[in-house]
Symmetry: C2
Subunit: 366 residues, 2 copies
Amino acid sequence: MNGTYITTNKDDILKSEEHDFIAELTDDASASFEIVRTALSNGNSVVSANKKMIAENLKELIELQNHSGTNLLYDAACAGSIPIIRILDDHYQNENVISIKGILNGTSNYILSNMNFNNLTFGEALLKAQKSGIAESDPSLDISGKDTNYKNTILSVHSHGALLNPETSLTLGIESINKSDIEFAKNINSKIKLVSYIYEKEDVFTSFVTPAFVNRDHNFFDVEYENNSLEIEGEFTSGQVYTGKGAGSYPTGIAVLSDIAALTKGYRYNYLKLNKKENAANDFTTPNYDYDIKVYVRYNDQSDISGFGIHSIIQENKTTGNKYVIGYCSLNALNKLSAADRRKIFICAFDPLKDIEEKQRLNSKL
Amino acid sequence: MNGTYITTNKDDILKSEEHDFIAELTDDASASFEIVRTALSNGNSVVSANKKMIAENLKELIELQNHSGTNLLYDAACAGSIPIIRILDDHYQNENVISIKGILNGTSNYILSNMNFNNLTFGEALLKAQKSGIAESDPSLDISGKDTNYKNTILSVHSHGALLNPETSLTLGIESINKSDIEFAKNINSKIKLVSYIYEKEDVFTSFVTPAFVNRDHNFFDVEYENNSLEIEGEFTSGQVYTGKGAGSYPTGIAVLSDIAALTKGYRYNYLKLNKKENAANDFTTPNYDYDIKVYVRYNDQSDISGFGIHSIIQENKTTGNKYVIGYCSLNALNKLSAADRRKIFICAFDPLKDIEEKQRLNSKL
């Protein structure tokens, strides 16, 4: 290393034997995976904050840890400064988690707060997020909901032992939100938040990401700007809420530091719920999308919404420039919308887990 | 053990070598201490939920662990189902914690919620708490603030490395609250909560427990009934809020179970901040009570409040039956009030850490 401790060649580190562990903090998921895979294979433990890399490769990363006896910690990858992975893996390991709702993306929450409080357009709010260093120069993962989905994928392994395929999980974003949606939310005493959901009850497991109306009574109503929040419903613990900064170098830095400290103590994740699954511990769990949820869909042209079967319509507004419909449609139908179709409309759920639970209750009475 | 796994004689367990650890769940602090001390001395690790025992003997309990190489875990002793000790000990070990505010006693919070929402008197609300199994048959530790103080004492070791003497920490309770206090709070858009405070900034360390007015904007405003909540302000993490059930057998059971699971993994507290203190790691830290805070004091007779020097009076009401004064007095003066004096009046702070910070700012400008 030329007498210095600084190098820009990853092989100088990966091939060296002079370190106890590697902290991998790139934002390129494939470079990140190559580094982490090599390090774990070489017997090095790793701290990483790359949610995309982890979510997409969790199966192999767990196998690699088991095989080489190394530890991979990634609490910094999810919910910034809130040590949620460790809380789930340790504290909830003996608890039946019913649901987790999350605001997991600081950038989109920052955009939504700015649209709500400062009457900015989506474009203005996004620009503000980029200028203030909250958003990446390429914020597409944030606003499309994909970043939230990666984090949710990581959560579900620790909360429910469910390995999800992030590629096929229902993920709706906020790219097409406009001022009229914010106004609509205000009129029903709500705010729009980008929310992740994991739910398991009576053999129904589901998980998805969608914008949702959050009303005044909900814990998420006052979670603003770059804050993240998680609401965990457990069989014995009831409701718990964890709120804190989800973005920014300082909060993330502390999360990385605390993973490093944990590594030095030999701490490793239990993956207890994953290991408990009877067979096929490493097979993907398919979320159940056979449920209908209540949605608000704002559109320009009737043809934009003809494809996915909105039914049981509750409210409709056909004023040009502000057309919307409120009704029910299945999670399956939403998941089948193409990216192009999604960009034409803005979809916002109301209380999807409540819709699913009510349907379950009805079914069990039949 | 007469062929069974049940015994009512603690020595059957303490003298046996057939167990891996002991979970000690009595509510008698001296019996608890005897059991835990003996077990740790014998080389047994222990899980305990007895906050009074732990707060009063933490110094010796830490020495015992170090001496015998055993582990004592007690996350169930503080904030019920919120794993706050582990969060502080692990996640905040490399972070400078500026302050922790806590609602740590489910019983008093339950009483206050019932007085506020259901217009009950203190006595009616207490009775309701007892009937519903929230309060102990002897709730004196809860309503006097002592239970909160014990928990706060435990927190401060992990958040600031400060061993406090619970006997000498300023602890105000809610025993003398009445309906007029609740009304007063409503009139200023606030609720009264029993709040614990730990604060450290620029060489000023303080810690105390007092009822406080919590306004609509504060995270604690909606923390109701048996819920607990902690707000942690860190130098790099900024604000974090943890909320969940603080009382009840199920949430506490999960906390005990997760301590047991941690024990089986060999988990132990770092006590990193305590161990970092330069000298006298095990000496008590004396909280700084040389600061004046704004208080509301409701009294019957002028003589009740003549002793502790309320000054800079902002508001006074001398209507018989509902006399109160709002002004400033020092934490020292409040701490010197006798138990008898306290019972005659009801004291409620506004935002004591803000008062202290403002004074610090003023001092630094001089």
